[in-house]
Symmetry: C2
Subunit: 90 residues, 2 copies
């Protein structure tokens, strides 16, 4: 949970998560949405991967990034509990 919060403490990484809500993308497609070098985007993707918020899957020559729905759901539940919101209310 610490890793997930740390991963979310950066605006670019939050933007990447928003972007992946619309569908899975490879690193180049993700990078094209940001005015930032590919190595920087690659670093952010690695932080998100380590926090398990995002998963990477090789498809042929490409690595496709997608949201890790299970971990995000668990994290959301833990977050809501922290804020005193009952999970069932969602």
């Amino acid at each position: 949970m610490n890793l997930a919060f740390k991963a979310l403490s950066d605006g670019t990484r939050r933007d990447i998560l928003r972007l992946l809500q619309s569908g899975d993308l490879n690193a180049g497609e993700i990078a094209s949405h940001f005015e930032m070098s590919k190595p920087s985007i690659s670093h952010h993707l690695n932080v998100l991967k380590q926090a398990k918020l995002v998963q990477a899957e090789r498809q042929g020559q490409e690595i496709i990034y997608s949201l890790n729905a299970t971990v995000m759901q668990e994290f959301l539940s833990a977050f809501l509990e922290l804020f005193g919101v009952n999970d069932d209310e969602i």
Copy 2:
């Protein structure tokens, strides 16, 4: 928002927020719930204050800590948007 996520990336600070859900407390009362030095708790309270998740109010000789409900609500909304959950669903 970065500060709030950083503040939440520590288990003790999350425990302090849970504790304050039950009511306002002074630093000594908060510290009594943790096996940790008062200066350490004081540091964690300062981080939470800087992130505006918690507010401190002097009452006579004491400083009373409470959740900053407005900021926490704003942060919760931003967080839910990030996870693609509609705010109205809560």
